[in-house]
Symmetry: D2
Subunit: 153 residues, 4 copies
Amino acid sequence: MSVTFCYKIEVRFRDCDEFGHVNNAVYFTYLEETRHAYLRYLAGQGVSSNAADEKLPHGFVLVRTECDFLSEALPGDLLEIQLRVSKIGRSSFGYEYEIMNTSKSQLVARAKSVHVAYDRIKKRSKPIPEEFRAVLERAMQGLSETSIDVVSD
Amino acid sequence: MSVTFCYKIEVRFRDCDEFGHVNNAVYFTYLEETRHAYLRYLAGQGVSSNAADEKLPHGFVLVRTECDFLSEALPGDLLEIQLRVSKIGRSSFGYEYEIMNTSKSQLVARAKSVHVAYDRIKKRSKPIPEEFRAVLERAMQGLSETSIDVVSD
Amino acid sequence: MSVTFCYKIEVRFRDCDEFGHVNNAVYFTYLEETRHAYLRYLAGQGVSSNAADEKLPHGFVLVRTECDFLSEALPGDLLEIQLRVSKIGRSSFGYEYEIMNTSKSQLVARAKSVHVAYDRIKKRSKPIPEEFRAVLERAMQGLSETSIDVVSD
Amino acid sequence: MSVTFCYKIEVRFRDCDEFGHVNNAVYFTYLEETRHAYLRYLAGQGVSSNAADEKLPHGFVLVRTECDFLSEALPGDLLEIQLRVSKIGRSSFGYEYEIMNTSKSQLVARAKSVHVAYDRIKKRSKPIPEEFRAVLERAMQGLSETSIDVVSD
């Protein structure tokens, strides 16, 4: 399964807790920042506002997430989060993530998330919009944005 | 499986994101606060420092956590987190959680976490200390601190 | 200058940093939570939505804040934040705060904030709405909600 | 007063609140990250561990901070925080900061902080260590690390 999008984040002092390493809850923030950066990237590629622009998060809800913690990360460490599209259903899709500590060439965490297209008026799930489905399918087939490298937090 | 410990947390404005509801990463903070409150409670009950006092977190590492999000919570909502001991192994044990929105009598989230006893000197897992194992076993059998109700953040 | 509103917050583990005590930035979250709780309280007292209900923050912007740190606070400590209305201008007003560690009867911090009524359409300051001005003036004269005690985070 | 150190931070989605812009408390985290990056930079320049390495924060305590908020910042905006040494006393020194939104060439905030050298054993202030004092004095005279540009979060 090829990498769809890479995002680099430097660990902040405030991301860490009393143990001096990144707090577990913050890894879910790293996943979220990666998703948002991916959507900004897609918007920059002209994927329309019905699919994946800045407003897209309003159209999807996160219904599940999970993370396995493999090694610790410290303030100032540079992390690379690799996002993959892992499954596509009628109204839901899933991402998988690997978080690498590039300062130490070490795998820090593996994670997953599941997102559902949601009609906030009718208050129920809806099919994934076609244009965004096409983006996801190309990503899953490795035909698309592989090896994008956005350097920043 | 009976409830081992209950903890109440009021949702802060800062816990919420642009969508006006509690951000996904913050639920993992709520789980963590519940675990810490449980350990403080145990310490108050005389469970010794080798088992479950304030320093105990140093003796265990979180290796996995997951959460299913069922409904949203808003600033000022009062949440009740119910913690259960769900499994006990040689060197690891698991908690399960239900987060209720007591302001709306609504289930907000279901979650799990897995913790491993860890020797930081030898850098490898170790057996769960006997005194804490006994606490966990009594909790799992429903013989113990069921229905503790700590009212605070 | 009499106390206008009191709010209690229990220190979370996540509020703390590598030094094991509450991180400096988090004190500004405590101030903010106190302001929001005060507005919720006023809304409950019937102060109308044009003045101080849940939406009021949209009508004011924070333009300045400051804090002196006097002692540290630790996970599980119970803090009491005392808010006072300290000055009222045409379009701006100020709060002052004292943060007490009730677990140790110790003054933790002193702080101030300045807020400006803001017209988001015309993008400029506007006079403080009359109903809210009346609330502030009564608070400043000590004629009002003194010694409110809201127990929770 | 010349700039001592510059640090770039990209605004995270999680840094923002219900209003969609960076929450006031988070600006104090940006200041802190800039200070820590400066200390890491000094450590890399060979300023010894008694003065300004990773452990230096343990030797100083933050006693006061303040911030004026001038414009808002949004998710994905790139901020540049300019740090200046603004005063040096016997046991305390001060930094001043300007936060620029480089995405919009706009001044976002002005801030200050005061730090005191502290003996944690004797629990009282102590003189600023000589080596670090020399660093601060050179910085204040504009003889030193002006226009350092660290690109990252």
